[in-house]
């Protein structure tokens, strides 16, 4: 079992594609799901239900597309791309729901992203107030440790744009934190 868990991602993926058996998938899941979960939670403003839906779709889509994966990037980056894509879809659908609910009370709109599972610290709150684009770049770079090259690939933007977005996101975050402190 030790030997199997030491297999590289590539070997595991090949084993999975060859056998389509659960053990190979389980190992891939155990290896990558914690970081995907973290990312999904951060992008969904810590809504566990949304993150769960996102991850369920992500794994199914990723496994469907797995035979086409060319290993231009590492598996984690590739899987994170699915989380980003699915989170964007989630934002869009929520935005359309929000539009439909505009005449209702503001408090009800805020309930679209409910979260009572933990007490958010100031930094988390400030990050959540950023626009989705800024939040995404900042989360990927500062919290998830992706490089600008990887972010550029994931989001389909240039490296320069990724850098400038990050810089603006950080500046906004600083402002938000200053505002919270006062």
């Amino acid at each position: 079992m030790q030997l199997i868990s030491n297999l590289t991602d590539r070997a595991l993926v090949e084993a999975f594609l060859l056998t389509r058996e659960e053990w190979a998938f389980r190992l891939l899941y155990q290896r990558h799901n914690p970081s995907l979960w973290r990312l999904a939670m951060r992008l969904s403003k810590h809504n566990r239900e949304v993150a769960e839906d996102v991850l369920q779709d992500v794994w199914i889509r990723a496994i469907e597309k797995l035979p086409q994966f060319r290993w231009d990037s590492n598996l984690r980056t590739w899987l994170s791309g699915f989380v980003l894509m699915r989170s964007r879809e989630q934002w869009r659908s929520n935005a359309s729901v929000q539009k439909r609910m505009e005449p209702l009370e503001k408090a009800q709109d805020l309930a679209l992203w409910p979260d009572f599972s933990f007490e958010k610290n100031e930094l988390t709150q400030a990050i959540e107030q950023l626009s989705p684009g800024f939040r995404m770049v900042l989360t990927l770079y500062d919290l998830e440790g992706f490089k600008h090259e990887e972010i550029a690939t994931l989001l389909g933007i240039s490296i320069g744009t990724s850098k400038s977005q990050l810089s603006r996101a950080r500046a906004l975050l600083r402002q938000q934190l200053d505002g919270l402190k006062r």
Binding site: W37, L55, F118, L143
Partner: protein
Amino acid sequence: MSNQNPKHGENKRTTAGDAEGTPPIDLYTKIVEAMKTEGLLYAPKALIPASVTGITSALVLFLGIALAAFFIGKSSVQPVMAEKIGNKPKFVFTGQSRRCPAR
């Protein structure tokens, strides 16, 4: 940022706290079930229906018994045949009783 210029990617879990927690335990089960439904994952047990397994084992058992019966029968018949063609063995085991045809 609160931390003093950490090396990139080094401090990623502590920067915003450990607010993400762990994924729900049943998430894996849900994903696996969905994948099986979509045909993305094999369910090896379901590939061979129980009826087929039953028929196969019955067939194997029957063949085993038939083969055993054949060899037991052969071992008791062979000396008799050998006797008929004149190639008498000194001592034979018929499967029923011991006898010495030379006597």
